[in-house]
Amino acid sequence: MVQKQFKARIKHNRRTGKDLYIMDLQTPDGIFVSKPGQFISVLIPNKTLRRPLSIMSHTGDSLQLLYKVRGEGTKYLSELTEGDTVDFTGPFGNSFELKTRNLLIGAGVGIAPVYYLKSAGTGVNEGVNNSETRLIAGFKTKDEIPADLLPSIDFISTDDGSYGKQGSIVDYAKSYIEEFKPDNICICGPVIVMKLISQIALEKNIDCQVSMERMMGCSIGACRGCVIKINDNGTIKNAAVCKEGTVFDARKVFYGGHEHA
């Protein structure tokens, strides 16, 4: 039995942008072990379903989450303060894989897992066999950029031009791919962003991993509430985002139709 349920003390919970918060949880070092791309599921009092949240960083006894206030659950979390306790389960799901030249792309709050991937990959892979990892990100507007993460982001665009270059990260990704020549692209963000960038990647025959998001029931693959259709070597089958994902090879994911609405 691996411990997968924790009651963690909040070290900090602070605003880092419009409706954006970073929560720092104290977790048992060596017992809670995570990889970039994995998530945890947070208990919200009086709610039936736990809220799956991506891990933004994890070192030693410190687990950081980046979350956007979207509904009652995340609103509750945003009101917690230092010393409060959070009941969470996890880590769950698979993780991103780094190769030699990695282009990591985050859109909106989707920056969290790719930021973790960059922090975890830097130092391990960097410089070895000419490996290099860059992180680029797109946001709607300046207010939606998590200020804490700015130093780690190599390129930023905003839809309204209030910070960095103006326009969609999808357009800049294309020229960035030409220039940086990655052999691996990892994306987390809205479905439309992942769809368009993975199309560019696959046209150029670059490996591409995308992190899918779904409302979840059990978080452990039991309830089949969060499945997507994937193409597994020609066979169309269901995959539970919580267990077989959240990271999928972009070649296997269908973006069309209501399956991903």
Partner: protein, 305 residues
Amino acid sequence: MPDMRVNKGKLQLKNPIMTASGTYGYNLEYEDFTDLTTLGAIVTKAITLEPRNGNPWQRIIETDCGMVNSIGLENVGIERFLKEKLPVLIKRKIDFAVNIAGSTLDEYTTLAKKCEDNSIKIIELNVSCPNVQHGCLEFGVDENTLGSLVKSVRSVFSGCLIVKLTPNVTSIEKLGLACQAAGADAVSAINTLKGTGIKLTFENGKFKKEQVTGGYSGRGIKPAALSAVMRLSKVLNIPIIGMGGIYSLNDVFEFFAAGADAVQIGTANFTHPDIAGKIVSELYSFMENNGFNTLDELKGALRNE
């Protein structure tokens, strides 16, 4: 040392705490949260003759006091279950019941026969899934149809035969009686209530709607479940396994008070994946600390109040 055993005809369990079909996977899904060997029985996800992909997205939605699901019986099918999932349950000494669902009487009977041939001790007939177009629920709403189904399954299955009843009927008692007359060893109640969850948000001048129609489960259905169990217990001699909104030992007591002999925990597993094992140990401690030697003594005390 309290004796938590359920000993009612063919319904033999080491304790009355089971987990409900569809919420607990096939075998080891919850092993990081609960010692599965301590549970009275886990009930597998519904198994059909052929594998099923289930319904398209969106399959679940949270509601006030619960959730609505429309999974549509996604499962690996009986052959893969027998080959891959069953050996694990046996090897790990986990007590279990196999939930089976069909779209015809023959399918149910074939499934039950395969269970019999594989020495499966308990099956639960799913005649009440609200999320598939054919079969299943159609069998669960008419007492004559249900009676014939149970009779046919009974003729090929010698173990403990449980029938899971739907609350989406006028008289659950009539259905329970039909099961009893046809040779069922127990009934379980209730499956989900028909429900629709709608979630609206207003953004950039437009409404965005999420909607799932299917089975409503969770805390909110407990009074409906207690009522069904109470009505069934007034007319049936066979044991009743109660379920619907159980989140605590006290909820279990409420079901005992209403007439249940055992219980199943369902949606609460999503909220608290450790809950089933926790309730088993709480029940044990409660009985030990308060001088209840058997489950019947405890139930007696609950029913006489």
